[in-house]
C-alpha cells in the first residue's frame, strides 16, 4: 500500500470525466493490487473544489481527505486537466501533491505543456486492459517503494 512519510496510507484521487475510464482505472488498480483508498472527481472544477474543500466538498475533512497522488485526465469539460494542473502547480499549498497525467492523448504538445506546467509523470492510457493493469502496477510500485512522498501539509481553505 502506498503510504506517505508518516506511514499513513495515502488517498489516490482520480480525476476523469469518463465513467467507463474511472471504472477501468479502478479495476486496473485493484488487479494491480494497489489497495489504497480511491476518490473520484469528474472534472477540473470538482478537482479544485475537492482540494480546496469547497462547494460539494465543503465541511468535514473526511469528505475530501488530502490526496497523496492525483491521476489526472487532460480533456474534460468545464475546467480541463491543463487548467487544473496550472492552478494546482502555482499554489504553494497544493503544488507538492504529485500529479500523474493519465490521458488518451499522446500529442507532443500535450506532453511538453504538461511537463512545463510541472506535472510529475505523463502516461498515455494503454490501449489494452492488461496494459492498463501493468501501468497501474508500475505506478503503484514506483510511488510506493521508490519515491519519497512529501508529508501531508494542511490545505488552506479558499
Amino acid at each position: 500500500m502506498m503510504v506517505d512519510k508518516h506511514k499513513i496510507p495515502i488517498t489516490i484521487l482520480i480525476c476523469d470525466d469518463d465513467e467507463d475510464d474511472r471504472m477501468l482505472t479502478q479495476q486496473a488498480l485493484e488487479d494491480a493490487h494497489v489497495a489504497n483508498a480511491l476518490r473520484f472527481v469528474e472534472d477540473g472544477e470538482q478537482l479544485l473544489d475537492y482540494l480546496y474543500q469547497r462547494g460539494t466538498f465543503a465541511g468535514e475533512m473526511g469528505l475530501a481527505p488530502r490526496p497523496g497522488l492525483i491521476l489526472l485526465d487532460l480533456n474534460m469539460p468545464k475546467v480541463d486537466g491543463r487548467e487544473a494542473l496550472k492552478i494546482m502547480k502555482s499554489d504553494p499549498t497544493i503544488c507538492d501533491i504529485p500529479v500523474v497525467i493519465l490521458s488518451t492523448s499522446s500529442l507532443d504538445d500535450d506532453i511538453v505543456r504538461s511537463y512545463q506546467l510541472g506535472v510529475n509523470s505523463f502516461i498515455t492510457k494503454p490501449v489494452t486492459f492488461s496494459g492498463l493493469v501493468e501501468a497501474m502496477n508500475v505506478l503503484g510500485k514506483y510511488w510506493l517503494e521508490i519515491v519519497e512522498l512529501p508529508p501531508s501539509i494542511p490545505i488552506a481553505r479558499a
Binding site: 469518463d18 477501468l24 488487479d31 488518451t104 492510457k125 489494452t128 486492459f129 492488461s130
Partner: protein, 379 residues
C-alpha cells in the same frame, strides 16, 4: 476597286484590302486619329458593341455610346501612356456597358505615324469576358474542392479519434471479462467473446488506418531536400526482420535527393518495399529492387520491382483505393490502406504512382515525383 498589277493577277486597291482585312477580323478594331476620332471601325466592333456606323465614324471615342468609353483608365492609357510607349499590350478593362452589360476587354493599342506625319492610333479590343468568367469559376471550384477535401480530412481525423474511444472501452472491458470469466464460460461462449474482441480489434485497425490516411494531408512536414538513399536505408533496416524471415533481399540502387516531406517518403518506401516482401511467392525468396531513373521535366522516377505473386493487371487501379484488398484477410493480413496512403502521399507531392504486373510474374511499382517544388506563395 481592283487593278492589274505587274504580275497580271487581280489584287484589291490597298485601302480596300486594308478594310477587308480588318473587317475579316473576329475581334473589334478601331483606328483613331490624333484627336481620338474614329476613322475606321470594323464589323466586329459594330456587332460586339451594338453600335451604328453613322454614330461612330468621325466621333471622338470617349463620346461614343453615350460616353460608355469615357473611362478614366482608358483615357490615361490613350492620352498619356501611349504617347510615351507607342505600344501598349494586354490592358484589361472590366466595365459595364449600357447596351451589352458587363464585359472584360483586353486592349492592345499602337501609335503609328502615317507618311504625312499624321498620327494614328490602332486599338484592338478582345472580348475575354467568357474566358475570365470561366477562369474565375474554375478557381472558385478549385477553392471549393480544396475546402471540401480539407473538411473531409478533418472529419476523418476527428471521427477516427472519437471512434477510438468506445473501441478502447469495448476491448478493455472485453479483455477483463475474458480474464475474469474466461475459463468458467462454456466453450461456445468463450468462442463468441473471442470473436467479438477480434472484430473490435479489426475495427480499431481500420479506424487507425483512416486516421493515418487523413494525416497524409493534415499532419505534414514542409518539403525539404530529402536524400532518398538515406530514407531507403532506414526503411530497409526497419524491414530487416521481415526480410530475414522471408530469406530475401532488397537491392537499392543509386537514389536522388529530392524536395519532399521526409517522413512521408519513408512511409511511401516502407509501404512499397513492405508489400514487395509481403506478397512473395511460397518457397521463393523475395528479391526486391529499388532504383531511380531521371525523368522528364524535372521529375524523378522510382521503380520498385519484385519477384512475388504479382496481380491481375485489371486490378492495377483498384488496389490504390482505400480498403481495397486483392486477397482474403486470412491469406495476407492488413486492411488495404497501404497503397491508398502511397497514392495520397505521391499526389500531395504532385507526382503519380502506377503498378504493372501479371499473376505470378512479380510486380513493378513506378513512382514519379517532382525533384523540386516552386516556393509556395502565400494565398
Amino acid at each position: 476597286m481592283t487593278s492589274l498589277n505587274g504580275a497580271g493577277s487581280l489584287v484589291p486597291e490597298p485601302e480596300q484590302l486594308l478594310r477587308d482585312i480588318i473587317d475579316t477580323l473576329r475581334e473589334p478594331l478601331l483606328v483613331l486619329d490624333a484627336e481620338f476620332r474614329v476613322t475606321l471601325a470594323n464589323r466586329a466592333f459594330f456587332r460586339t458593341f451594338l453600335a451604328d456606323p453613322a454614330d461612330t465614324i468621325g466621333k471622338v471615342l470617349f463620346t461614343l455610346g453615350a460616353g460608355q468609353w469615357d473611362i478614366p483608365p482608358l483615357r490615361e492609357l490613350l492620352q498619356q501612356k501611349l504617347s510615351v510607349e507607342s505600344q501598349l499590350e494586354d490592358f484589361e478593362l472590366d466595365q459595364v456597358y449600357p447596351r451589352i452589360g458587363r464585359k472584360i476587354m483586353l486592349l492592345n493599342a499602337r501609335l503609328a505615324s502615317h507618311g504625312n506625319g499624321a498620327r494614328v492610333i490602332l486599338l484592338a479590343i478582345e472580348d475575354i469576358t467568357e474566358r475570365r468568367f470561366a477562369d474565375w469559376r474554375l478557381a472558385e471550384q478549385r477553392r471549393e474542392l480544396v475546402r471540401s477535401n480539407e473538411a473531409l480530412d478533418e472529419f476523418a481525423s476527428v471521427a477516427s479519434h472519437d471512434l477510438q474511444e468506445p473501441l478502447r472501452k469495448i476491448l478493455s472491458f472485453g479483455e477483463r471479462l475474458t480474464t475474469q470469466l474466461g475459463t468458467t464460460l462454456p466453450a461456445d461462449a468463450q468462442h463468441s467473446l473471442a470473436r467479438m474482441l477480434d472484430a473490435a480489434q479489426r475495427m480499431r485497425t481500420l479506424v487507425q488506418d483512416v486516421l493515418a490516411y487523413s494525416q497524409v494531408t493534415t499532419r505534414t512536414l514542409p518539403f525539404t531536400p530529402t536524400d532518398l538513399a538515406w530514407v531507403a536505408r532506414e526503411v530497409v533496416s526497419d524491414l530487416e526482420t521481415a526480410i530475414q524471415d522471408a530469406g530475401g533481399r532488397v537491392e537499392v540502387a543509386h537514389l536522388p535527393v529530392i524536395e519532399a516531406d521526409a517522413l512521408q517518403m519513408r512511409q511511401l518506401l516502407q509501404n512499397l518495399l513492405g508489400n514487395a516482401i509481403k506478397y512473395r511467392r511460397a518457397n521463393i525468396p523475395p528479391v526486391v529492387q529499388l532504383r531511380s531513373m531521371n525523368g522528364h521535366n524535372g521529375h524523378c522516377t522510382l521503380v520498385v520491382t519484385d519477384n512475388g505473386i504479382g496481380f491481375n493487371q485489371d486490378y492495377a487501379e483498384k488496389m490504390f483505393r482505400m480498403f481495397e484488398r486483392l486477397h482474403a484477410r486470412t491469406q495476407y493480413a492488413g486492411s488495404g490502406i497501404g497503397l491508398a496512403i502511397c497514392r495520397k502521399i505521391v499526389e500531395r507531392h504532385g507526382g503519380t504512382i502506377a503498378a504493372t504486373s501479371s499473376p505470378g510474374q512479380g510486380a513493378t511499382f513506378t513512382v514519379t515525383l517532382p525533384v523540386t517544388h516552386a516556393p509556395r506563395t502565400a494565398s
